[in-house]
Chain length 490, copies 2
């Protein structure tokens, strides 16, 4: 969920200053249009890690927009009067009317974002209610946008240290901040749980890297502008719709997550042979342990065309007894599969305990090829993130290890591999017109991949990005990770 | 939630036999149309109290429909194979393909419907997941219908006794049944919680009185027919809709709940004066207690026009210090109110602790006048039930007593009162053309009232039906109930 936000995105000053005037004009125009047509009100929540710049973002948004039409609301402990009322009263009375907006620093999420040991039933009920509340808001014409400004543990530490170095900002870092920092992992896990449970197409969480102020503020503002613009358009087109379709928020995703990878790793043949023997042996031994019969493995192989999924799969299966594994290639659905809900065809192949199922491509097709090629509607692929997370959670609760690998090679490397395949007789069948078509949409696919990882990399089922230009390196990375995941669970 | 189902509905044999051929033909035709167009699959869950006739209903449905296209699925403890898979695997593999149906005796609700002391967090998470699962099904084109066959405690006891009297059926009543019967209240409360949490327009719970086999089976079958017919129509009209609107299920609601009332109760003037003094005194004393400052009262007065709401309200307020109560008349919303989500204008008047707020008409307008007059769309009033329940739950959790009174008079009595008002100079203003218009739609309103009570009478916020042809009786019943509710909470 937070992978992309922990990379340390930056926006150079020159680029920022070049793009800012247009963004600010867009924001003001959108505010004006919203006020004129008043089809909706806008509720923006700003949450995030300590030190991720929540206050700075709110101040900046206020300076970029017309503050008369967007109210900033700081949520602190309830006032005396608020305490005498039902919990939600204070939020209801702060809701903006149609045509206007509100910027919530803190919100009804309140305490849900703090890690806790007790009161888990209460937390779950609160999250349920929040879900229903936000759905109601959306159905009543409120555009709900929720931002999570993120910092990795190292970034947070660096940020606090930097603030402490200057006399002017030293006071901003409190003992409580450092106390929270020490419990960073618990906060991280709690945030992931809450964001997962309350992420919905009609009230999405947008996770933004909080490390660089220019990048953070620009991204938040641009996302707001995109969402409001989409909402304004929607209204003129579908005045009669009883149920509003969700706003498709495609934040200004860069592909930094993939661009960041050093694709050509080093691993010479000799070393590879040794490592391969080592990890295949290990995998075989793990799969024979008595405890292995109480768990199962769901391995998902996804990647750029020609990145070497097949080769990697064969290195896994070679280490396993044929009776305990299955490789499930994902092709076009059969008629029977088409007559069932989307995930049915993958549930069919869910492993029982003691088994390994390797999916050669998978349910992620919906948010990759089906999204990019338009086979799935916006509503369909947008809700697929949540459905996929639910699916994987069910499998994990049933004892499965969910191991997901994305094999990445560069645009140039792909061309070389395509050409090589076309020249080699027995590999020719591996190149189809589809491959060339996908290649032509490289950038769209790469963006879809980054969105996918942002939405579906969870603690239970994390994505592993595999630098795959060196096949040896890729195979070993996958085998090693798989062994570690299984070992951790046994 | 179960009020209407506990009345002991019956369907006379003659009426049943007269209507059955048409119903059966309708079911078979609908099955055929469903198979031809295959726009959806149908998943029907049958749950209910022990002894409420789940098995009989399923057998009957099977005999009335073409069993080749509707599979009956009994859910017992998981098989060995199922136990080796993730929990939901067994339900996924049983989902019918488009064009077909499945009748689940037992389902993914499984253990959630048994009362429990431990594992509440787990229960809430399970309910959350069920909600998401059923939403996904609906979005993937599955029509989900959930029936709760109900019996009151006395009905259940009578049923078990009757079974035990005959040698042929004696074996059907087990020790476990009687053990459950002893814990009836806990099962009742658990069922209400689960049904409330998982009732949604796209996967509604339909509560059916299980006491009379003919009524029960006929009602379930008719509801299925209506829902499938509505779904088939929907599909031809809105092929392009990305989000399917919810199916408006209006089960064959009779108005038995209201018809059952003995409207003309007896209470002579002399007795009334005594009782009035007694309960007004009591109410005043309760409102002065120190603990009263920790709670609040939300009283809702709804009723047929001219049923005497105003008079009843005045008898309450006369007993209270003017500083602690407010009467909020509900008129057409202001511009400002219209610019906010529907419930905003009622949240504004939510009481703080120590206060009494009496709503003269209320948020129930949405499911009464707005529904009947078409001011609210189907989608709007259907989702209002859940929103209202959430609203009242929030208030109750904040310390409020929610006391809701429905004042009922007969059709003839209303006419007399209207005429009397028109003849009395100072009461003339009380009769408007709206009143006559509403009167013309008497039956529609009565049905809407019964639906409202079925969906929104909960343990936290029960409806009290007030027989109001004798005003004295009505006022005392309300005052007495209010005193008891407050006393119970202090």
């Amino acid at each position: 969920m937070f992978e992309s936000a922990e990379l340390g995105h930056t926006l150079a000053k020159t680029a920022f200053e070049r793009q800012l005037p247009r963004l600010r004009k867009g924001l003001i125009d959108a505010q004006f249009d919203l006020l004129q047509d008043a089809p909706a009100s806008v509720v923006i929540l700003i949450h995030g890690m300590d030190g991720a710049g929540k206050g700075d973002t709110i101040n900046t948004l206020n300076s970029w927009m017309d503050a008369r039409h967007i109210l900033t609301i700081g949520i602190d402990g309830p006032t005396d009067e608020e305490q005498l009322h039902a919990h939600m009263w204070r939020f209801w009375r702060l809701l903006p009317p149609k045509g206007k907006g509100a910027l919530f620093a803190g919100s009804w999420y309140g305490e849900t974002l703090s890690p806790r040991k007790k009161g888990k039933a209460r937390l779950e009920r609160t999250l349920e209610r929040i879900l229903r509340f936000e759905r109601m808001l959306a159905q009543e014409g409120v555009l709900v946008l929720k931002f999570w400004l993120h910092l990795s543990k190292a970034q947070q530490r660096a940020r606090f240290k930097a603030l402490e170095r200057s006399k002017k900002t030293r006071w901003r870092v409190t003992k409580l901040d450092w106390k929270h920092h020490a419990r960073y992992d618990a906060f991280h896990a709690q945030a992931e749980h809450v964001l997962r449970a309350t992420d919905a197409p009609h009230a999405p969480w947008v996770v933004v890297d909080g490390n660089d102020a220019r990048y953070r503020n620009f991204t938040v503002a641009k996302t707001i502008l995109q969402a409001v613009t989409a909402r304004l358009k929607q209204n003129t087109n579908s005045k009669t719709a009883e149920v509003l379709p969700p706003v498709a928020i495609a934040p200004t995703r860069d592909t930094a997550l993939l661009d960041h990878l050093v694709l050509a790793q080093h691993l010479p043949r000799g070393e590879y042979d040794q490592e391969l023997e080592r990890y295949q042996g290990k995998l075989n031994q793990l799969s024979r342990e008595a405890k292995f019969r109480n768990i199962s493995v769901v391995a998902v192989m996804e990647g750029v065309d020609a990145a070497g999924k097949g080769g990697a799969i064969r290195r896994i299966t070679a280490a396993l007894d044929a009776r305990i594994y299955r490789v499930v290639p994902t092709a076009a659905p059969t008629d029977e599969e088409r007559a069932h809900p989307y995930l049915w065809r993958f549930w069919r192949h869910a492993p029982q305990c003691g088994q390994v199922v390797i999916f050669d491509r998978s349910w992620y097709g919906r948010v990759l090829v089906e999204r990019v090629e338009g086979f799935a509607s916006n509503a369909e692929w947008l809700r697929a993130y949540g459905e996929i997370n639910d699916f994987e959670e069910e499998l994990a609760e049933g004892g499965a290890i969910i191991a997901k690998y994305w094999l990445q090679i560069g645009h140039g490397e792909q061309l070389e591999r395509f050409s090589a395949r076309e020249k080699t007789g027995y590999k020719k069948y591996k190149i189809t017109p589809d491959d060339w078509r996908n290649r032509a949409k490289w950038d769209d696919y790469q963006r879809a991949v980054c969105d996918m990882i942002d939405h579906t990399s969870t603690q239970l089922a994390p994505w592993v990005l595999v630098e795959a230009e060196n096949k040896y390196y890729a195979r070993i990375k996958i085998l090693k990770d798989l062994c570690e995941r299984i070992e951790g669970k046994l």
